[in-house]
Amino acid sequence: MPHLIRSIAFLAIGILQLVSSPSVLKADIISDFKQQSGVSEDSGIRRAVYLGRLFNGVTGGPFRRMDSMYAIVTIAQATNVQLYAGDGNANFDSAFSQGKMFDSGIRITNRTQNGTEVIFAPGDPATTPPFKIDVPAGVGINDSLAANNRLDFWLVGDTNAGFTVPSTVAGNNANFFIRFDRSTAVPEPASVMLASAGLGFVVLRLRSRKKK
Protein backbone atom coordinates (compact mmCIF):
# COMPACT_ATOMS: atom_id res chain seq x y z
CA MET A 1 0.00 0.00 0.00
CA PRO A 2 2.75 2.53 0.77
CA HIS A 3 4.26 1.64 -2.60
CA LEU A 4 1.01 2.46 -4.30
CA ILE A 5 0.71 5.76 -2.48
CA ARG A 6 4.31 6.59 -3.37
CA SER A 7 3.73 5.66 -7.00
CA ILE A 8 0.59 7.76 -7.20
CA ALA A 9 2.39 10.65 -5.55
CA PHE A 10 5.28 10.28 -7.98
CA LEU A 11 2.90 10.23 -10.92
CA ALA A 12 1.02 13.27 -9.63
CA ILE A 13 4.25 15.22 -9.11
CA GLY A 14 5.44 14.21 -12.58
CA ILE A 15 2.23 15.36 -14.24
CA LEU A 16 2.25 18.59 -12.22
CA GLN A 17 5.82 19.17 -13.29
CA LEU A 18 4.89 18.66 -16.95
CA VAL A 19 1.92 20.97 -16.78
CA SER A 20 3.75 23.73 -14.96
CA SER A 21 6.89 23.56 -17.09
CA PRO A 22 6.51 26.12 -19.92
CA SER A 23 9.57 24.87 -21.78
CA VAL A 24 7.95 21.53 -22.37
CA LEU A 25 4.51 22.95 -23.17
CA LYS A 26 5.92 25.41 -25.66
CA ALA A 27 7.99 22.81 -27.45
CA ASP A 28 5.49 22.55 -30.27
CA ILE A 29 4.40 26.17 -30.55
CA ILE A 30 6.74 28.59 -32.24
CA SER A 31 6.08 32.28 -32.77
CA ASP A 32 8.05 35.30 -33.98
CA PHE A 33 7.52 38.81 -35.30
CA LYS A 34 9.48 41.32 -37.36
CA GLN A 35 9.20 44.56 -39.32
CA GLN A 36 7.71 43.95 -42.75
CA SER A 37 10.03 44.39 -45.71
CA GLY A 38 7.38 45.58 -48.17
CA VAL A 39 9.60 44.87 -51.21
CA SER A 40 7.40 43.80 -54.09
CA GLU A 41 7.93 41.83 -57.29
CA ASP A 42 5.62 41.56 -60.25
CA SER A 43 6.50 38.87 -62.72
CA GLY A 44 3.49 39.36 -64.94
CA ILE A 45 2.09 36.10 -63.57
CA ARG A 46 1.62 37.20 -59.98
CA ARG A 47 2.52 40.03 -57.63
CA ALA A 48 4.48 38.97 -54.56
CA VAL A 49 5.45 41.14 -51.63
CA TYR A 50 8.21 39.92 -49.34
CA LEU A 51 7.21 40.14 -45.68
CA GLY A 52 10.46 38.99 -44.11
CA ARG A 53 12.39 36.17 -42.48
CA LEU A 54 11.36 34.65 -39.13
CA PHE A 55 12.40 31.78 -36.85
CA ASN A 56 16.13 32.25 -37.34
CA GLY A 57 17.95 29.39 -35.63
CA VAL A 58 14.79 27.40 -34.89
CA THR A 59 15.11 23.68 -35.62
CA GLY A 60 12.46 21.69 -37.41
CA GLY A 61 12.53 18.71 -35.06
CA PRO A 62 11.97 15.10 -36.15
CA PHE A 63 8.74 13.89 -37.73
CA ARG A 64 6.94 17.17 -37.22
CA ARG A 65 4.69 19.29 -39.36
CA MET A 66 2.97 22.65 -39.04
CA ASP A 67 -0.53 21.80 -37.91
CA SER A 68 -2.19 25.17 -37.52
CA MET A 69 -1.23 28.84 -37.39
CA TYR A 70 -2.08 32.45 -36.67
CA ALA A 71 -0.81 35.35 -38.77
CA ILE A 72 -0.96 39.09 -38.17
CA VAL A 73 0.02 41.35 -41.08
CA THR A 74 -0.22 45.06 -41.88
CA ILE A 75 -1.74 45.54 -45.32
CA ALA A 76 -4.00 47.77 -47.41
CA GLN A 77 -6.57 47.13 -50.12
CA ALA A 78 -6.14 43.37 -50.15
CA THR A 79 -8.67 40.79 -51.29
CA ASN A 80 -7.83 37.10 -50.90
CA VAL A 81 -4.09 37.66 -50.82
CA GLN A 82 -2.24 34.38 -50.23
CA LEU A 83 0.32 33.87 -47.47
CA TYR A 84 3.28 31.73 -48.52
CA ALA A 85 6.11 30.37 -46.37
CA GLY A 86 9.32 28.66 -47.41
CA ASP A 87 12.87 29.33 -48.48
CA GLY A 88 13.73 32.42 -50.55
CA ASN A 89 13.99 36.11 -49.74
CA ALA A 90 14.03 37.25 -53.38
CA ASN A 91 12.64 36.13 -56.74
CA PHE A 92 9.49 34.49 -55.49
CA ASP A 93 8.62 32.96 -58.87
CA SER A 94 11.92 31.12 -59.02
CA ALA A 95 11.56 29.80 -55.46
CA PHE A 96 7.95 28.81 -56.17
CA SER A 97 8.85 26.95 -59.36
CA GLN A 98 11.58 25.09 -57.47
CA GLY A 99 9.05 23.93 -54.90
CA LYS A 100 10.59 26.00 -52.13
CA MET A 101 7.44 27.98 -51.37
CA PHE A 102 4.33 26.59 -49.72
CA ASP A 103 0.85 28.07 -49.64
CA SER A 104 -0.18 28.19 -46.01
CA GLY A 105 -3.82 28.39 -47.09
CA ILE A 106 -4.37 31.65 -45.23
CA ARG A 107 -6.10 34.36 -47.27
CA ILE A 108 -5.86 38.03 -46.28
CA THR A 109 -8.74 40.42 -46.99
CA ASN A 110 -8.98 43.91 -45.55
CA ARG A 111 -11.98 44.77 -43.40
CA THR A 112 -12.32 48.10 -45.22
CA GLN A 113 -10.67 49.11 -48.49
CA ASN A 114 -9.76 52.68 -47.50
CA GLY A 115 -7.07 52.17 -44.87
CA THR A 116 -3.85 50.40 -44.02
CA GLU A 117 -4.97 47.81 -41.48
CA VAL A 118 -3.55 45.25 -39.09
CA ILE A 119 -5.26 42.01 -40.10
CA PHE A 120 -5.51 39.01 -37.78
CA ALA A 121 -5.84 35.75 -39.69
CA PRO A 122 -7.93 33.71 -39.26
CA GLY A 123 -9.15 36.07 -36.52
CA ASP A 124 -8.51 37.32 -33.01
CA PRO A 125 -6.51 34.56 -31.23
CA ALA A 126 -8.54 35.20 -28.08
CA THR A 127 -11.77 34.15 -29.76
CA THR A 128 -10.83 32.29 -32.95
CA PRO A 129 -9.18 28.86 -33.19
CA PRO A 130 -5.99 28.74 -35.27
CA PHE A 131 -6.09 28.19 -39.02
CA LYS A 132 -5.68 24.50 -39.90
CA ILE A 133 -2.87 24.02 -42.43
CA ASP A 134 -3.18 21.28 -45.07
CA VAL A 135 -0.95 18.31 -44.30
CA PRO A 136 1.30 18.60 -47.41
CA ALA A 137 1.81 22.33 -46.84
CA GLY A 138 2.36 21.77 -43.11
CA VAL A 139 4.99 19.11 -43.81
CA GLY A 140 6.63 21.26 -46.50
CA ILE A 141 6.85 24.35 -44.30
CA ASN A 142 8.31 22.37 -41.40
CA ASP A 143 10.78 20.61 -43.71
CA SER A 144 11.87 24.00 -45.03
CA LEU A 145 12.38 25.19 -41.45
CA ALA A 146 14.29 22.00 -40.65
CA ALA A 147 16.53 22.41 -43.69
CA ASN A 148 17.30 26.12 -43.27
CA ASN A 149 16.53 26.92 -39.64
CA ARG A 150 14.46 29.89 -40.84
CA LEU A 151 11.37 30.67 -42.88
CA ASP A 152 10.67 33.39 -45.46
CA PHE A 153 7.14 34.76 -45.77
CA TRP A 154 5.47 36.30 -48.82
CA LEU A 155 2.07 37.78 -49.60
CA VAL A 156 0.98 36.87 -53.12
CA GLY A 157 -1.80 38.17 -55.34
CA ASP A 158 -2.68 38.54 -59.01
CA THR A 159 -0.32 40.39 -61.30
CA ASN A 160 -0.71 44.17 -60.96
CA ALA A 161 -2.88 43.65 -57.87
CA GLY A 162 -3.47 46.86 -55.95
CA PHE A 163 -2.71 45.72 -52.41
CA THR A 164 0.14 47.44 -50.58
CA VAL A 165 2.28 46.14 -47.73
CA PRO A 166 4.10 48.89 -45.81
CA SER A 167 7.34 48.61 -43.88
CA THR A 168 6.42 51.70 -41.89
CA VAL A 169 3.20 53.49 -41.07
CA ALA A 170 3.66 57.15 -40.24
CA GLY A 171 7.18 56.54 -38.96
CA ASN A 172 6.29 53.45 -36.94
CA ASN A 173 7.43 49.94 -37.84
CA ALA A 174 4.78 47.88 -39.59
CA ASN A 175 5.28 44.45 -38.05
CA PHE A 176 4.01 41.02 -38.94
CA PHE A 177 3.57 38.10 -36.56
CA ILE A 178 3.42 34.36 -37.20
CA ARG A 179 2.61 31.55 -34.79
CA PHE A 180 2.75 27.87 -35.73
CA ASP A 181 1.29 25.04 -33.68
CA ARG A 182 3.26 21.94 -34.61
CA SER A 183 2.11 18.34 -34.34
CA THR A 184 4.37 15.31 -34.34
CA ALA A 185 4.22 11.75 -35.64
CA VAL A 186 6.36 10.47 -32.72
CA PRO A 187 5.60 10.82 -29.02
CA GLU A 188 6.25 14.34 -27.78
CA PRO A 189 8.50 14.83 -24.76
CA ALA A 190 5.48 15.33 -22.56
CA SER A 191 3.81 12.16 -23.83
CA VAL A 192 7.04 10.19 -23.37
CA MET A 193 7.30 11.30 -19.76
CA LEU A 194 3.65 10.53 -19.07
CA ALA A 195 3.95 7.11 -20.63
CA SER A 196 7.17 6.42 -18.69
CA ALA A 197 5.54 7.47 -15.44
CA GLY A 198 2.51 5.29 -16.16
CA LEU A 199 4.73 2.33 -17.01
CA GLY A 200 6.73 2.83 -13.82
CA PHE A 201 3.50 2.94 -11.87
CA VAL A 202 2.33 -0.37 -13.38
CA VAL A 203 5.74 -2.04 -12.75
CA LEU A 204 5.73 -0.90 -9.15
CA ARG A 205 2.21 -2.20 -8.61
CA LEU A 206 3.17 -5.57 -10.11
CA ARG A 207 6.26 -5.75 -7.85
CA SER A 208 4.22 -4.88 -4.79
CA ARG A 209 1.72 -7.61 -5.65
CA LYS A 210 4.55 -10.15 -6.10
CA LYS A 211 5.91 -9.25 -2.69
CA LYS A 212 2.51 -9.88 -1.15
Partner: protein, 263 residues
Amino acid sequence: MESTLVQCETPRLTWNFARMKTLRLATLLMLFLCQQSSVGLVHAGFISSTVNQDGTKRLDYNMGLGSASKIGIFDFGFGANPSPESLIFIKARIRLWVQLPPDAIGDLAPEIVFAKAGTTDLNQALITGDAVKTDIRISFNLFPSGNGVVEKTTGFENLTSQQSLALSSIIAKDPSSRVEAWLVSDTLKAITVPAFGEFLDFSNGFPIVTVKRFTATLDLVAPEPSSNIIFAGFGLLCVRRFWTARKKWTSNRYKEIAGLCPT
Protein backbone atom coordinates in the same frame (compact mmCIF):
# COMPACT_ATOMS: atom_id res chain seq x y z
CA MET B 1 19.96 138.93 -49.97
CA GLU B 2 17.31 137.88 -47.46
CA SER B 3 14.89 136.81 -50.18
CA THR B 4 17.67 134.79 -51.85
CA LEU B 5 18.32 132.88 -48.62
CA VAL B 6 14.64 131.98 -48.27
CA GLN B 7 14.46 130.60 -51.81
CA CYS B 8 17.55 128.39 -51.45
CA GLU B 9 17.19 124.80 -50.13
CA THR B 10 20.21 122.70 -49.34
CA PRO B 11 19.98 118.84 -49.73
CA ARG B 12 19.63 118.68 -45.91
CA LEU B 13 16.53 120.86 -46.08
CA THR B 14 15.12 118.57 -48.84
CA TRP B 15 15.62 115.53 -46.57
CA ASN B 16 13.78 117.31 -43.75
CA PHE B 17 11.03 118.07 -46.20
CA ALA B 18 10.86 114.32 -47.01
CA ARG B 19 10.69 113.44 -43.33
CA MET B 20 7.75 115.77 -42.96
CA LYS B 21 6.00 113.66 -45.55
CA THR B 22 6.60 110.44 -43.58
CA LEU B 23 3.46 110.97 -41.57
CA ARG B 24 1.42 111.29 -44.72
CA LEU B 25 3.05 108.15 -46.20
CA ALA B 26 2.42 106.19 -43.00
CA THR B 27 -1.24 107.21 -43.16
CA LEU B 28 -1.38 106.06 -46.76
CA LEU B 29 0.22 102.73 -45.80
CA MET B 30 -2.35 102.26 -43.03
CA LEU B 31 -5.11 102.90 -45.55
CA PHE B 32 -3.67 100.23 -47.84
CA LEU B 33 -3.32 97.74 -44.99
CA CYS B 34 -6.91 98.36 -43.95
CA GLN B 35 -8.01 97.70 -47.49
CA GLN B 36 -5.87 94.55 -47.59
CA SER B 37 -7.45 93.15 -44.43
CA SER B 38 -10.97 93.93 -45.56
CA VAL B 39 -10.74 92.10 -48.89
CA GLY B 40 -11.53 88.40 -49.25
CA LEU B 41 -9.10 85.63 -48.31
CA VAL B 42 -8.36 84.80 -51.93
CA HIS B 43 -7.06 88.29 -52.55
CA ALA B 44 -4.41 87.63 -49.93
CA GLY B 45 -2.78 85.36 -52.54
CA PHE B 46 -2.63 82.04 -50.67
CA ILE B 47 -5.49 79.79 -49.61
CA SER B 48 -5.30 76.49 -47.83
CA SER B 49 -7.62 73.62 -46.95
CA THR B 50 -6.90 70.58 -44.77
CA VAL B 51 -9.20 67.55 -44.81
CA ASN B 52 -9.23 63.94 -43.63
CA GLN B 53 -7.98 61.65 -46.38
CA ASP B 54 -10.70 59.65 -48.07
CA GLY B 55 -8.85 56.44 -48.97
CA THR B 56 -11.17 55.32 -51.78
CA LYS B 57 -9.33 53.62 -54.65
CA ARG B 58 -10.69 52.90 -58.11
CA LEU B 59 -8.98 50.21 -60.16
CA ASP B 60 -10.98 50.94 -63.32
CA TYR B 61 -8.96 54.05 -64.15
CA ASN B 62 -7.46 54.22 -67.66
CA MET B 63 -9.40 51.18 -68.87
CA GLY B 64 -8.38 49.18 -65.82
CA LEU B 65 -4.66 49.63 -66.43
CA GLY B 66 -4.07 52.15 -63.66
CA SER B 67 -5.61 53.37 -60.46
CA ALA B 68 -7.17 56.49 -59.00
CA SER B 69 -7.02 57.17 -55.27
CA LYS B 70 -9.28 59.82 -53.81
CA ILE B 71 -7.37 62.17 -51.52
CA GLY B 72 -10.34 64.19 -50.29
CA ILE B 73 -12.81 67.00 -50.89
CA PHE B 74 -11.25 70.39 -50.19
CA ASP B 75 -13.29 73.37 -49.09
CA PHE B 76 -11.67 76.81 -49.20
CA GLY B 77 -14.62 78.62 -47.71
CA PHE B 78 -15.66 80.48 -50.85
CA GLY B 79 -19.29 80.09 -49.92
CA ALA B 80 -22.15 79.47 -52.32
CA ASN B 81 -21.45 82.23 -54.84
CA PRO B 82 -17.79 83.08 -55.08
CA SER B 83 -16.80 86.04 -57.21
CA PRO B 84 -15.19 85.02 -60.51
CA GLU B 85 -11.95 86.88 -59.81
CA SER B 86 -11.54 84.92 -56.53
CA LEU B 87 -11.29 81.65 -58.51
CA ILE B 88 -8.15 82.37 -60.49
CA PHE B 89 -5.21 80.25 -59.38
CA ILE B 90 -1.67 80.26 -60.67
CA LYS B 91 0.06 77.66 -58.46
CA ALA B 92 -0.86 74.68 -56.28
CA ARG B 93 0.85 72.54 -53.65
CA ILE B 94 -0.34 69.40 -51.85
CA ARG B 95 0.63 67.51 -48.70
CA LEU B 96 -0.62 63.95 -48.27
CA TRP B 97 0.10 60.54 -46.71
CA VAL B 98 0.76 57.94 -49.36
CA GLN B 99 2.40 54.61 -50.10
CA LEU B 100 3.96 54.41 -53.55
CA PRO B 101 5.79 51.60 -55.35
CA PRO B 102 9.50 52.23 -56.06
CA ASP B 103 8.86 52.49 -59.83
CA ALA B 104 6.62 55.56 -59.31
CA ILE B 105 9.28 58.00 -60.49
CA GLY B 106 9.63 60.34 -63.46
CA ASP B 107 6.84 59.90 -65.98
CA LEU B 108 5.44 57.00 -63.95
CA ALA B 109 4.94 59.13 -60.85
CA PRO B 110 1.20 59.55 -60.22
CA GLU B 111 -0.43 62.90 -60.92
CA ILE B 112 -2.89 65.06 -59.04
CA VAL B 113 -6.30 65.46 -60.65
CA PHE B 114 -8.83 68.07 -59.53
CA ALA B 115 -12.41 66.95 -59.95
CA LYS B 116 -15.94 68.01 -59.18
CA ALA B 117 -16.98 66.96 -55.68
CA GLY B 118 -18.74 63.60 -55.71
CA THR B 119 -17.11 62.31 -58.89
CA THR B 120 -17.44 58.55 -59.19
CA ASP B 121 -16.19 57.96 -62.73
CA LEU B 122 -12.96 59.89 -63.15
CA ASN B 123 -12.44 58.67 -66.73
CA GLN B 124 -15.77 60.22 -67.72
CA ALA B 125 -15.16 63.36 -65.65
CA LEU B 126 -11.88 64.03 -67.46
CA ILE B 127 -13.70 63.87 -70.79
CA THR B 128 -16.64 66.06 -69.77
CA GLY B 129 -14.47 68.70 -68.11
CA ASP B 130 -15.57 67.87 -64.59
CA ALA B 131 -11.96 66.94 -63.82
CA VAL B 132 -8.58 68.27 -64.86
CA LYS B 133 -5.13 66.71 -64.72
CA THR B 134 -2.34 68.86 -63.31
CA ASP B 135 1.43 68.69 -63.66
CA ILE B 136 1.79 68.01 -59.94
CA ARG B 137 3.36 64.58 -59.55
CA ILE B 138 3.96 62.64 -56.34
CA SER B 139 7.18 60.76 -56.87
CA PHE B 140 8.55 57.84 -54.87
CA ASN B 141 11.80 59.82 -54.72
CA LEU B 142 10.12 62.82 -53.12
CA PHE B 143 11.41 62.90 -49.54
CA PRO B 144 10.73 60.84 -47.51
CA SER B 145 10.87 57.75 -49.73
CA GLY B 146 10.51 54.13 -48.65
CA ASN B 147 8.15 51.16 -48.71
CA GLY B 148 5.80 52.68 -46.22
CA VAL B 149 2.98 55.11 -45.64
CA VAL B 150 4.85 58.42 -45.61
CA GLU B 151 3.94 62.10 -45.61
CA LYS B 152 4.96 63.90 -48.80
CA THR B 153 4.70 67.59 -49.65
CA THR B 154 5.22 68.91 -53.16
CA GLY B 155 6.62 72.31 -54.05
CA PHE B 156 4.36 74.98 -55.52
CA GLU B 157 3.73 73.86 -59.10
CA ASN B 158 2.48 76.22 -61.80
CA LEU B 159 -1.00 75.69 -63.15
CA THR B 160 -1.41 76.39 -66.84
CA SER B 161 -4.13 78.83 -67.82
CA GLN B 162 -6.16 75.87 -69.11
CA GLN B 163 -5.78 74.02 -65.80
CA SER B 164 -6.59 77.18 -63.86
CA LEU B 165 -9.73 77.79 -65.91
CA ALA B 166 -10.84 74.19 -65.50
CA LEU B 167 -10.25 74.35 -61.74
CA SER B 168 -12.22 77.61 -61.52
CA SER B 169 -15.04 76.02 -63.51
CA ILE B 170 -15.09 72.94 -61.23
CA ILE B 171 -15.25 75.09 -58.10
CA ALA B 172 -17.84 77.42 -59.59
CA LYS B 173 -20.09 74.50 -60.62
CA ASP B 174 -20.15 73.01 -57.11
CA PRO B 175 -22.99 74.36 -54.93
CA SER B 176 -20.59 74.63 -51.98
CA SER B 177 -17.58 75.66 -54.11
CA ARG B 178 -15.49 72.62 -53.19
CA VAL B 179 -13.03 70.60 -55.21
CA GLU B 180 -11.93 66.96 -55.02
CA ALA B 181 -8.32 65.87 -55.43
CA TRP B 182 -7.31 62.45 -56.72
CA LEU B 183 -3.95 60.76 -57.15
CA VAL B 184 -3.98 58.92 -60.47
CA SER B 185 -1.61 56.68 -62.32
CA ASP B 186 -2.09 55.39 -65.86
CA THR B 187 -0.16 52.19 -65.18
CA LEU B 188 0.40 51.62 -61.45
CA LYS B 189 -2.12 50.04 -59.12
CA ALA B 190 -0.14 49.50 -55.94
CA ILE B 191 -0.73 53.04 -54.73
CA THR B 192 -2.47 53.68 -51.43
CA VAL B 193 -3.69 57.00 -50.07
CA PRO B 194 -5.10 55.62 -46.82
CA ALA B 195 -7.71 57.29 -44.67
CA PHE B 196 -6.00 55.79 -41.63
CA GLY B 197 -3.05 53.58 -40.79
CA GLU B 198 -2.76 50.86 -38.15
CA PHE B 199 0.44 49.38 -36.84
CA LEU B 200 1.36 46.63 -34.37
CA ASP B 201 3.30 47.79 -31.36
CA PHE B 202 5.27 45.09 -29.52
CA SER B 203 7.11 47.45 -27.19
CA ASN B 204 5.24 46.13 -24.15
CA GLY B 205 5.91 42.51 -25.04
CA PHE B 206 2.43 41.86 -26.40
CA PRO B 207 0.86 43.19 -29.59
CA ILE B 208 -1.15 46.42 -29.40
CA VAL B 209 -2.81 47.87 -32.49
CA THR B 210 -2.45 51.65 -32.77
CA VAL B 211 -4.45 53.72 -35.28
CA LYS B 212 -3.43 57.02 -36.88
CA ARG B 213 -5.83 59.15 -38.92
CA PHE B 214 -4.32 60.87 -41.97
CA THR B 215 -5.02 64.37 -43.30
CA ALA B 216 -4.11 66.11 -46.55
CA THR B 217 -3.61 69.82 -47.27
CA LEU B 218 -4.15 71.59 -50.59
CA ASP B 219 -2.69 75.08 -51.02
CA LEU B 220 -3.65 77.29 -53.94
CA VAL B 221 -1.97 80.53 -54.95
CA ALA B 222 -4.03 83.31 -56.51
CA PRO B 223 -2.76 86.51 -58.18
CA GLU B 224 -2.40 89.32 -55.64
CA PRO B 225 -4.16 92.46 -56.87
CA SER B 226 -3.97 94.20 -53.48
CA SER B 227 -0.25 93.66 -53.13
CA ASN B 228 0.28 94.80 -56.68
CA ILE B 229 -1.62 98.01 -55.98
CA ILE B 230 0.37 98.64 -52.79
CA PHE B 231 3.76 98.07 -54.37
CA ALA B 232 2.93 99.95 -57.55
CA GLY B 233 1.59 102.87 -55.47
CA PHE B 234 4.66 103.00 -53.27
CA GLY B 235 6.88 102.65 -56.31
CA LEU B 236 5.22 105.65 -57.95
CA LEU B 237 5.50 107.68 -54.74
CA CYS B 238 9.21 106.92 -54.44
CA VAL B 239 9.83 107.85 -58.06
CA ARG B 240 7.92 111.08 -57.60
CA ARG B 241 9.81 111.93 -54.41
CA PHE B 242 13.12 111.17 -56.02
CA TRP B 243 12.25 113.24 -59.07
CA THR B 244 11.15 116.25 -56.97
CA ALA B 245 14.27 116.08 -54.79
CA ARG B 246 16.48 115.79 -57.84
CA LYS B 247 14.81 118.76 -59.50
CA LYS B 248 15.27 120.87 -56.38
CA TRP B 249 18.87 119.78 -55.96
CA THR B 250 19.64 120.58 -59.60
CA SER B 251 17.95 123.93 -59.30
CA ASN B 252 19.98 124.77 -56.16
CA ARG B 253 23.20 123.70 -57.86
CA TYR B 254 22.47 126.09 -60.74
CA LYS B 255 21.74 128.85 -58.25
CA GLU B 256 25.02 128.10 -56.42
CA ILE B 257 26.93 128.20 -59.65
CA ALA B 258 25.26 131.46 -60.58
CA GLY B 259 26.34 132.85 -57.19
CA LEU B 260 22.85 133.47 -56.01
CA CYS B 261 23.28 131.29 -52.91
CA PRO B 262 26.16 131.29 -50.42
CA THR B 263 28.35 128.15 -50.58
